[in-house]
């Protein structure tokens, strides 16, 4: 099923396999990243999305190629689901010049103008005003495009969250706000940081229609995103999704996870997006074990190719250190 205005998810085999494949790609890609981190190929911060795959994959189904994405520092999954080349993402992880952002950003700052993928923002809440502005530009130029902004529930405590929701609602802008509520802002549980932990109500306070979604169920996410995007394209202003989800891994590779119970993690893993969707598809007879094997093989190949590409890619020469701090005067064309 292609992205479109239809808000129902017609789960045909082909589409089910595509959703599953994308989630498995993210899962395996990140498992590889964790391994490469231990091998010291990837450094700095590495925030894994494992457990949350249904959100990026589900939401992206509702978006068109000329819509815009603004994401956070936990954005590998969004980049992959948006269709950025895995090899370039991996090279970015390595810090190589062939990476999505010439290696300048690393794991937290993946950008791709071709896919209208605007990062990769590692300031919590920092991407929301940017999304409002992208949507404002579309509205002022009469383009019927959507800007989709992903952020975590931790961002709801930031002033920029409130300023941005207010602006988007006030100016009736085509923004899809997607709050991926994984329960913890780094190590601080939501009920320890919010006077009202019902994040979707925060959106309602700004007169933005919001919906709480099971972020562990890719079909639910896709359906909710399609409903929201349809309303946005119809000129009804911003929409807000609160996707209730969970990260199975630590916040970053430096996190000893002292703030949550292992039993809790295991409980969530049982309803993980990949295992749950897989089981359901198998039980319903829509797919067979052999389909999963094929997906795993294809994904393994993709990742292998990506790692080889990243390994072999050259480093940016030190002479280019200050390149692109400012736009060179010769070409004053600006990506839009």
């Amino acid at each position: 099923m292609a992205a479109g205005t239809d808000t129902k998810v017609h789960l045909v085999r082909e589409h089910a396999l595509e959703l599953l494949k994308q989630m498995i790609l993210i899962r395996r890609f990140e498992e590889k990243c964790a391994e490469l981190y231990s091998a010291e190929k990837i450094r700095g911060f590495l925030h894994l999305y494992i457990g949350e795959e249904a959100n990026a994959v589900g939401v992206m189904q509702a978006l068109e190629p000329d819509d815009a994405i603004v994401a956070t520092y936990r954005e590998h999954g969004h980049a992959l689901a948006r269709g950025l080349p895995p090899s370039e993402i991996m090279a970015e992880m390595y810090g190589k010049a062939a990476g999505s952002s010439r290696g300048r950003g690393g794991s937290m700052h993946i950008f791709d103008a071709r896919h209208r993928f605007y990062g990769g923002n590692a300031i919590v809440g920092g991407g929301l005003p940017l999304a409002v502005g992208l949507a404002l530009a579309d509205k002022m130029q009469g383009r019927n495009r959507v800007t989709c902004c992903f952020f975590g529930e931790g961002a709801a405590a930031e002033g920029e969250f409130h300023e941005s929701l207010n602006l988007a609602a006030l100016w009736n802008l085509p923004v899809l706000f997607v709050c991926e509520n994984n329960g913890y802002a780094m190590g601080t549980a939501l009920n320890r940081s919010e006077s009202n932990p019902d994040i979707s109500q925060h959106a309602s306070a700004y007169s933005i229609t919001s919906e709480a979604v099971d972020g562990m169920n890719v079909i639910d996410v896709e359906a909710a995103a399609r409903r929201a995007v349809k309303a946005i394209r119809a000129g009804k202003g911003p929409r807000f999704l609160e996707n209730k989800t969970y990260r199975f891994r630590a916040h970053s590779m430096f996190d000893a996870e002292l703030y949550r119970d292992k039993v809790e993690v295991e409980k969530w893993k049982k309803i993980g997006p990949v295992v749950r969707f897989t089981d359901w598809l198998l039980e319903s007879g829509m797919i067979h074990e052999s389909d999963i094997d094929i997906i795993e093989q294809e994904v393994a190949r993709t990742i292998e190719v990506a790692v080889v590409f990243a390994e072999q890619a050259p480093w940016e020469p030190v002479e280019d250190l200050t390149r692109d701090v400012m736009t060179p005067p010769v070409h004053d064309k600006v990506a839009s």
């Binding site: 300048r104 990769g120 005003p129 940017l130 404002l136 002022m140 920029e160 300023e163 006030l170």
Partner: protein, 329 residues
């Protein structure tokens, strides 16, 4: 100048805004009270009626939100002019300016430039006390990825905006709040454009180089005038651009005069004056006949009473004294 006219600094800014809105449909003005109110300093008075509320866009009191929205709109193909009421308020938008606007091009490997102009008032002299009077230009001038300009003349107030809008990168434009009522000559319409790169020699002299910018230019020229009465011939440099700094003009002058006084309304510690002084040491040390002097603001939040405010900021007397010190007269 053929066809030159006299305008106030405020009128020059307004004319520049109007020109930009007329010439480029991607341009829009956004900020607190820029529309119905006409601008906190009345720079945009009448523009709402002329261009409508889409292009002269009043915002809520959300400095970070609307500055970030300006950055996003710039990414989306617009040419936003964001007005922030004062530099003190811009601290609420510092995340968007420093973490996003300044980093995006480099961090994205050159994929995204941010063609935004952010204007804001700066400086003391109007008895507005410690949350409306500071000069934090050097904070912005510290940041790679930004261009920072400070029009001190009416002609620059008229000419810099259009040039700034042609720049593919973020430009921060500082307007000293005491300048808005100043009158000055500007070129005929259609001939007002100017560069953003070069410092300007506002007065030629051979004895001491006075290096300044923005609201301190007038005081520095007054000091030079007074010193001329004593036979001391000062050269006055208006930096115009605070990032990048025009080292060539500064060094050329200092090499000629062998003495330098930097007049900077920012606090002395970590000031632009300190940066310029260091550059003179690095590039023109052997030309100097005296230590570089700095006239900066006292290390105090700007106080409300006029006499204390005056005492806290550079004045003609303190500039004259610094010049004499370099000459040991």
């Amino acid at each position: 100048m053929t066809g030159s006219r006299t305008l106030t600094y405020r009128e020059a800014i307004r004319e520049a805004l109007r020109e930009a809105l007329q010439r480029d449909e991607r341009v829009f003005l956004m900020g607190e009270d820029v529309g119905r109110y006409g601008g906190a300093y009345a720079c945009s008075k009448g523009l709402l009626e002329e261009f409508g509320d889409e292009r002269v866009r009043d915002t809520p009191l959300s400095e970070s939100g609307f500055t970030g929205a300006g950055i996003g709109a710039a990414l989306g193909g617009m040419r936003p002019i964001v007005e922030i009421m004062t530099v003190n308020f811009s601290l609420l938008a510092l995340d968007q300016i420093v973490n996003t606007a300044a980093t995006l091009r480099h961090m994205s490997g050159g994929q995204f430039s941010v063609p935004i102009v952010i204007r804001m008032a700066t400086g003391a002299g109007r008895q507005l006390a410690a949350q409306h009077s500071h000069s934090l230009e050097c904070w912005f001038a510290h940041v790679p990825g930004l261009r920072v300009v400070a029009p001190a003349s009416v002609a620059d107030a008229r000419g810099m905006l259009w040039t700034a809008l042609q720049d593919p990168d973020p430009v921060i434009m500082f307007e000293h709040a005491t300048l808005y009522n100043e009158e000055g000559e500007v070129a005929a319409e259609g001939e007002t454009s100017c560069d953003l790169d070069k410092a300007a020699i506002r007065r030629s002299g051979k004895d001491v180089s006075l290096i300044t910018y923005s609201g301190s230019l007038g005081k520095t020229l007054d000091a030079a005038q007074r010193l001329a009465g004593d036979g001391i011939d000062c050269e006055v440099i208006d930096l115009r651009s605070l990032r990048p700094l025009d080292d060539a003009t500064i060094m050329s002058s200092v090499t000629k005069t062998a003495r330098a006084v930097i007049v900077d309304e920012g606090w002395r510690s970590g000031s632009l004056a300190g940066e310029i002084s260091a550059r003179i040491m690095e590039q023109a040390f052997y030309s100097l006949d005296a230590p570089v002097e700095r006239v900066c603001s006292q290390e105090v939040p700007i106080p409300y009473p006029s006499h204390l405010e005056q005492a806290a900021t550079p004045q003609v007397e303190s500039i004259v004294a610094a010049v004499r010190k370099t000459l040991r007269t």
